[in-house]
Amino acid sequence: MEPEELTELALAAAVEAGAGYADARWVREETEGLTVTDDRVDDLEAEDSSGLGIRVLVDGCWGFAASAMVDPGRARDLARRAVEVARASAAVDGEPVRLAPAEPAVASWSTPLHRDPFAVPLAERVELLLAACEAQLSVPGLTHAKATVDLWRRRTVLWSTEGTRVDQTVTQTGAGIEAVAVGDGDLQQRSWPNSFRGQYQGGGWEVVEAADLVGNAPRVAAEAVQLLSAPELPERMTTVILDGQQLSLQVHESVGHPLELDRILGMEAAYAGTSFVRPEDQGRLRYGSPAMSVTADATTPGGLGTFAFDDEGVGAQRVPLVTEGMVAGFLTSRETAAQSGGASGGAMRADGWGSMPLIRMTNVHLEPGQGSLDELIADTPDGLLLSVNRSWSIDDRRVNFQFGVEAAWEIRDGHLGRLYRNATYDGRTTEFWGSLDAVCGPEAWVVWGVPNCGKGQPFQNARVGHGAAPARFRRVHVGVGK
């Protein structure tokens, strides 16, 4: 049976069972992950998952039911179960859920692709990764080389009782290398284009080709070996330039999450946490320096948070979050927007067919400034260039953070100097962003992918994007605990 028929059946059964509102999402998700370590295929995971998730509102309470095993009878059963779940929630009194109005969407959309990554023969992928590992292992002193390619495609058929009829297919591709050097009781790693399996973007095989894994392999491997004999970064207060890879995670943890309106309203309190930001801070709270402007933009080409419609059928939008340092908006859903009196910003996203949509980041960008990284380094008499994330942690209201990076280069008199290992820095969110004094320009701005953002109960994973160019921060505490 076609997905549209299943969703229609489910919606009819939900209404018959008493739902005041219902949406049904049929989702098929295909993934292929390939890992080559040294000279052999270390891991190959290929999944093909489809199922139906039904979300209902009954007397102002949400209910949700989902299954991978769907036929017409089960679709109707699922709808009835979702209504049963919603009715049970009325055991505890509370304000009924209201949804901000949204125009029903009727449309189809797919990620533009230059070359469908799933059509690239497995043998071609394996050959590329073996070559990338061989190029790393050509560097003396390297212990292990890893290379990865990950493919991801999700088709969503979303129907609602309000008339939404969306058919959307998102395709994303990731690739990377990791060079590992072990010696004298230490382990150091350099990654390219990013850590944790590389760079991920919306698009096809062109994402892999752009990464030039083989071409970058010798340099990355050499840096990993150099790190083994580099000194530890000592503790001090200094100026730091974060490269785009590290900055993207800094934006993710200390800007994106705190501006999710469900966190601000306490809906994630027990698990992911809340936020130091309050609903009334919009337009009033200084979040950072005037050099800081942050936008949530689900329309950015190549982002992991790029789509035409979110999982409530709300159209992709560009929403200012921070404008010249002042809080300008939040990531919102129809439910939270109704509480604040606005319209949804289109940030409701679910981790597949089996999960209720939650407010998630789309593509949360630090808007570019001007100039190149070389110019920014030349303009820095004393400081550090911190490169590629290795570790991250932040408190449950998103105030106190600590990050580790793979490599740190001294900047002295406008030039890069010695390399340091085991570099860390910490800070508090608004103080840190208040110390931002320069962001590189559009030529250095890249949409980085974070494919592993966790939130919600049951746990959900989201794939989000962050446009970032290298940026400079003053008086940062580095070398934590050294």
């Binding site: 299954s67 979702a82 999960s355 932040i394 408190d395």
Partner: protein, 447 residues
């Protein structure tokens, strides 16, 4: 739509075995359950879901290995998936280290399947939530979740393995918010009826009230008493950072050069034991190997590694039953960790501390340095200053940046009671409370 039956799953797995090739393995995993979530003292999200996952692994030409996965539940779909795995295997390069697949075995009794937990309906979960919320003191609101789930696993291969098992789990977590202070409690058991949700609610509410108006405390190195949930985080990280044989072989383990040596206090013994009566799991791993109890740290001495079939074959030892779905770049992992209890009550651990901190829970821990076993993270939901053996008030939350082995080297005493605990849902370990003489807090936050 509940209770497929692990024997039926085994039949589904067997449907893959005729795919052709030298070895065929099918792993079937079915999970179903509900989760009732609350915030600001109202149920705001409530879900039920069921998933079934079939993963087929095939070896052709002796050592070309391919896998394919489906979420469909009928034999024809499983056979088609097996056919895809064969196609994948034919395109793969030879794997000279392919060890074959395990043969038949007898499996230990493990886990517990409670039918009432498997069948728990949303009204049951909502009723438990409502009861806890009704008993909250004035001025205290609550957030949290009540979850019940059933897990069935079956595995068959062409070497004769036929394994099937089922287990259930129930958990209740609550964060109580008393304005300027929060408190937290969580329980996990194989059976819902064994969870004392009222006691969890009372504990969280009491901590929230006691956490009001926290004072600022300068970061530094302090003695601590870690409650079982916080202690379990150290145990889980330690398990991930070096006890897998593949990680050890690749130099990704803090244990390199330290096996057989003292790595922490003799008060510390850590085992991995899926066969313990109080854990959640089945008696075989994801390759169909029987799970064995492995002592990882024996009275402070690094004692052993865990092996999947490939690493065990390479080392010429018996696999310990810790394999992930193969092939795996991670290798074997200990997934049923337990730190053995001592003989001191938690109250006495606190009473024995002249000046230090009592920590309820950690938040968002992450690795800083693998070889040093250094991790960082925050305290949350109940961090208290202890003076002269008494809790004298709450403190604002602190960030720790601390080597786990160094912390476990300064363990002064081990609690008598253990809890099965998880941090942020990334895993679970059973741990007692720990009194540690030196624990480094590197910075503080504002609440």
């Amino acid at each position: 739509m509940t209770g497929t039956g692990s024997e039926r799953l085994l039949e589904l797995a067997e449907a893959a075995l005729g795919a052709g090739g030298d070895d065929v393995e099918a792993l079937v995993w079915r999970q179903a359950g509900g989760l009732t979530r609350f915030a600001a003292s109202r149920i705001h999200q409530s879900t039920w879901r069921e998933d079934l996952w079939v993963r087929v692994r095939v070896a052709v030409d002796g050592n070309r290995v391919g896998t394919a996965t489906t979420h469909a539940a009928d034999p024809a779909a499983v056979r088609a998936t097996a056919g895809r795995a064969v196609e994948v295997a034919r395109t793969m390069p030879p794997d000279p280290g392919y060890p074959g697949m395990p043969g038949p075995a007898t499996y230990p009794r493990a886990g517990r399947h409670d039918q009432a937990t498997a069948a728990a309906d949303p009204a049951t979960r909502a009723g438990l939530v409502a009861g806890v919320i009704r008993r909250l003191p004035a001025g205290v609101a609550a957030a949290g979740a009540c979850e019940t789930r059933e897990l069935e696993i079956a595995l068959a291969n062409t070497r004769g393995v036929r394994a099937a098992g089922a287990t259930t789990a129930a958990s209740f977590s609550i964060l109580a918010d008393a304005g300027s202070g929060t408190g937290w409690a969580e329980g996990t058991e194989p059976a819902l009826a064994d969870l004392d949700v009222a006691a969890l609610g009372e504990r969280a509410a009491r901590k929230a009230v006691d956490s009001r108006d926290p004072r600022e405390l300068a970061p530094g190195t302090y003695p601590v008493v870690l409650e079982p949930n916080a202690a379990s985080v150290l145990v889980q990280w330690l398990g991930w950072l070096g006890f897998g044989a593949k990680a050890y072989d690749e130099g990704r383990s803090f244990l390199i050069g330290r096996l057989g040596q003292r790595v922490c206090s003799p008060l510390v013994t850590v085992v991995d034991d899926a066969t313990a009566a109080d854990t959640i799991g089945v008696g075989f791993d994801f390759e169909g190997v029987p799970k064995r109890r492995v002592t990882l740290i024996d009275q402070g001495v690094a004692a052993g590694l865990v092996y999947d079939f490939r690493a065990a074959t390479g080392h010429g030892v018996e696999p310990t039953g810790h394999g992930l779905p193969a092939p795996s770049s991670e290798g074997a992992l200990p997934m049923h960790l337990s730190m053995l209890p001592g003989q001191t009550t938690q109250a006495d651990l606190v009473a024995g501390m002249e000046r230090g901190l009592l920590v309820t829970r950690f938040h968002y821990t992450n690795l800083v340095n693998l070889m040093e076993t250094t991790i960082t993270g925050m305290t949350r939901d109940g961090t208290f200053l202890v003076e002269d053996g008494r809790v004298v008030g709450a403190v604002r939350n602190l960030r720790f940046t601390q080597s786990i082995l160094e912390a476990l080297s300064s363990v002064r005493a081990v609690g008598a009671e253990t809890e099965l605990a998880a941090e942020d849902g990334y895993g679970a370990a059973r741990a007692p409370a720990l009194a540690i003489d030196r624990f480094a807090f590197s910075s503080a936050t504002t609440f």
